[in-house]
């Protein structure tokens, strides 16, 4: 098989896995899902190796050239996202198997495989409409996942998420329609070459950015995130915060850096930057004021997403590297935090902050996972978060927009406030009358593995950074 062929497997394998899992019915779901996961991960790894050695790979699906057919492009950024999804996703699903009942398993696994297929397709695709379809697939699968437990909060969360995500997608689709109308091309590369400032391009850019900001979600439009994350079962929340919300951010990043660059000038970037900064402050403030563990971590997601939007005012290669590195380390760190919260909920049954008391002795691995995850969220050195914060900080000073640096530093302080507010409790003795149900080791090791990824990202950053550099030669 030719190297470009390897680009197909990361998408096809999970799809095939999902379909077979549905087909096999009650008994063999776990086996099929396991095999599919391993296969997909190896496919992603091989593709990463191909891209790392050969550089950017492109494949025209169905053999048709860009204007007519859809084209796949795998550059450093895409492949790094593939790896992140391939590593963080399965770890969360391993945790989900023990966390959810066995009935839910039969529905969780196929849906997760669909999400995996959609995310891989989204990351690789370079076609505007195809991105719409992948976004929709991700959204619908997430809605189904959120409501998998059929309990009232889950259903509410699912419906709210659907009714907020749909307008986002429709706005995006309208943008695609306008672009097609003017340039009669759907491939991002072609669009990037043909784009010229004009009412159609501006409105299309505006509408698409708005749609994706609603789905990511950015600050003023973030209101659906906390209730949805709290209502959904914890492993699904982990998937949502770590990977699914990154999908729409990834599309926005591609659009801004490859398509709309000529028509978007300094002010618009600052506008998104200001909203990002507001998100950081607002998210951190609210995280501080919450009493429920899951809501604190949810609002911290709002804040972390704010950091990612600091990329747009700077829009340099360095800023892109920093933002993407933040995406990757945030995925690992946030997933470990949510999974750890799930463990606590399962073991102690308390959702308030008090649930953490005595954690350090009862469940040392979960505590360590939350600690390492928290440290990465704050951006303290031995963590991936620090590397991202460092690169963004340097970039902000280099481009002379030092105020984004201030936002980063202040955000770090606020983050440390709410992270240590959680961790502090774990040193207190166990509250009286609380019995700790023992949870399977697999459950405890999953968050630790995720947290260790965040740590390794902090200690050995040169490999991902080199990978990110592939394909930016343009």
């Amino acid at each position: 098989m030719s190297p470009t062929a390897w680009m197909a497997w990361p998408v096809i394998l999970p799809l095939l896995g999902a379909v077979l899992a549905l087909l096999v019915g009650r008994k063999g779901v776990r086996v099929v899902a396991g095999v599919a996961s391993v296969a997909t991960f190896t496919a992603s790894a091989v593709l990463t190796w191909e891209v790392a050695t050969r550089g950017v790979l492109r494949q025209a699906i169905g053999g048709w050239g860009p204007p007519l057919g859809i084209e796949w492009r795998a550059d450093g950024l895409a492949v790094l996202m593939l790896l992140t999804i391939g590593v963080v996703g399965p770890l969360i699903s391993v945790h989900a198997l023990d966390h959810l009942g066995d009935r839910e398993d039969r529905e969780f696994l196929p849906l997760w495989l669909f999400v995996w297929c959609a995310l891989n397709a989204l990351v690789l695709s370079a076609d505007a409409f195809n991105l719409y379809v992948t976004l929709e697939l991700v959204t619908l699968a997430s809605v189904a996942l959120i409501a998998v437990r059929r309990d009232r909060p889950g259903l509410d969360a699912g419906l709210r998420y659907l009714l907020f995500a749909l307008p986002g997608s429709l706005l995006y689709l309208l943008g695609v329609a306008l672009l097609y109308g003017l340039y009669s091309a759907l491939d991002l590369g072609l669009l990037g070459q043909r784009i010229t400032p004009g009412p159609v391009a501006w409105v299309a850019a505006g509408v698409m950015t708005l749609g994706l900001c609603l789905k990511t979600p950015l600050f003023p439009l973030h209101v659906w995130l906390p209730p949805t994350y709290t209502g959904a079962p914890t492993p699904v929340t982990a998937l949502l915060s770590a990977l699914i919300s990154k999908g729409s951010y990834y599309v926005l990043l591609r659009l801004w850096l490859e398509v709309f660059t000529p028509i978007l000038d300094w002010q618009v970037g600052q506008f998104l930057g200001v909203l990002g900064a507001a998100a950081v402050l607002w998210g951190s403030l609210l995280a501080l004021s919450q009493s429920q563990l899951k809501r604190v971590v949810a609002y911290s997601s709002v804040a972390q997403i704010g950091y990612m939007f600091l990329l747009f005012p700077m829009a340099t290669l360095g800023a892109r590297t920093g933002a993407v590195y933040l995406v990757v380390s945030h995925a690992a760190a946030k997933a470990s935090m949510f999974v750890a919260v799930g463990n606590i909920h399962q073991a102690v049954g308390i959702t308030e902050l008090g649930g953490v008391q005595g954690l350090a002795y009862r469940m040392p691995f979960t505590f360590l996972a939350m600690a390492l995850g928290g440290i990465s969220l704050i951006g303290m050195p031995p963590s991936g978060g620090f590397i991202a914060k460092w690169i963004l900080l340097e970039e902000s000073i280099w481009t002379g927009q030092w105020w984004w640096g201030l936002v980063l530093l202040l955000g770090g302080l606020l983050a440390s406030a709410y992270v240590f507010r959680i961790l502090r409790g774990s040193f207190l003795p166990l509250p009286p009358g609380v019995t700790v149900r023992s949870i399977p080791l697999g459950n405890e090791l999953a968050p630790l593995a995720l947290a260790l990824i965040a740590l390794v990202l902090g200690l050995v950053p040169w490999f991902p950074l080199e990978l990110l550099a592939v394909g930016t030669a343009r």
Binding site: F164, P167, P199, W202, V203, A205, G206, V207, T209, L210, C213, L214, P220, L221, V223, P226, P227, I263, L264, D265, W266, Q267, V268, F271, W282, L285, L286, L288, S289
Partner: protein
Amino acid sequence: MSPFEVAQLPVIAALGVPCVLLLAVVVPGWRGWAMRLAPWAALPTVGLALASGAPVHWKSILLGMRLYAPDEVTRTFLLFTGVLWSLSGLFAGGYLRESPHRASFWGFFLSTLVGNVGAVLAQDIASFYLFFALMTFCAYGLVVHERTSEAARAGRVYLVMALLGEALLLAAFFLIAGTSIDLPLREVPRVVAESRHRDLISVLVLVGFGVKVGVVPLHLWLPLAHPVAPTPASAVLSGSIIKVGVLGWLRFLPLGHASLGGVGGVWATLGLVSAFYGVAVGLTQRQAKSVLAYSSVSQMGFLTLAVGLALGAPEAAPALVVAVLVYATHHSLAKGLLFLGAGVLPATGRGGWRGVVVLVGLAWAALEIAGAPLTSGAWAKLTLKSAESAAHAAESLPTWLSVAAVGSTLIMARFLVCIVPGASKEGKPGWGVLLLSWLLLLVADTVVFLRPPVGAEELPELVVAKNVVSAAWPVLLGVSLSAVALASRRWRAWRVPELPPGDLLWFVERLVHPVWAFMTREVDEEEPGPEEETWGDRLLGRFARLRSTLLHEADDGEANLRQLSHVGLALLLFLGVFLYLVTRPPG
């Protein structure tokens, strides 16, 4: 340089023996025999004084420790220090047989001895400061030995003044040392003479060591410390510890290298004032030991006078230095005799042959201090007068000295009046060792007078009639005056007002105490009191209130943001602002 040549052995022994004994006393196991050997700790110093050692230079100790230089000053000081310490040690052996804190006394006794001997031997600034500090702090242990409240107060005053003195000395040493870290003492006078801060250094050295010597405004601790300290301790304190101050002057002042007229003049007058002030206040004292203390203050006044003159007239400096050495030796041994005598008399009692011997000895020592002809006192005063005349000081100086001599006689008489009637007829058991050590000191005093390590050429002068007369009339006048005073006192018509020891101290204490109380105001509170409202805590309080209101605002903000219509509005605004910014011409 091999660790040590044979010639250096005595120097090492002089310091080493007391150190070893000190360690032995500290370790409970060896405490027994160590305390028995302790009195002989100072013998190696006497041996070193008589024989001669070789300079020692240990580069790796402290900042390059240098010990022993074969000059007059060191030899003289070693002699009288060694003699006084060993005999006081012997005396203490008997004196303290039954007192409870013997171990701690011997510990502090030996460590002060090490400090004293070390200070004399030290040949570089850092080592000198080391031994000087060691002596000062361990002498504190001797002063508060009795553990009474007066002892505590005396100790506190002594320590505070000593610390202030040492701070000034430290500043002086910094100025002297300059860039060369370990400067041998030999070059110090020359360096000081040539340095930019010559006058500042001289003043600092004069005042710094002045605290130890007891020059008038700085003497406040002396009359407090002597009465409370055990007798051998006060003997050593007055005899040799005070003399280290003088040693400091001789080592660090640019005597003979530069002439500081102004400073010298002031210091000389201060010396004279001390002489008279000591006598005046001494006469008002009731306790024998405080009288002796004030007598020391006045005697030291003479030395201060000599040093002041030496500063003023560099050409006369060598003669004055010799005079100072002679006077110091005389005063150390004579004052030792008086102090130990004050301790021996109650033990042996006034009656019997023992009483007579002690009384005669005390009278002889008193005469020596008063400067009676043919005594070491006369010899010391003679060398002083001849040196001062060489320094062509003010003509009226010799007369002043004679008047001061009268004062000395008066204060000696005062001492005898205090000590003799007080003692009981028959003494107390265990007087043997005390009497032996006192007699040995008497013998040593006369031997040193006859075979002086320095200033021997003045001896023949003593016999010259003119000098005998000039030495005799002040003593006679003093004796007659005291006889008259004694007689008049019998009719109780006239009582001498009693000044508390440490005279000016009560005034200084009024000043210092409130400041100290303010600075340590919260120490005594039982629990750490309300967390003191530092500006930091107020800030934190305000910060916490701000934080909670901010969080509530955020919650409300989030609640109304969550309303659907507001989200719709946000969408519309987002698009509107985006389009406005995009369509606006850049810049």
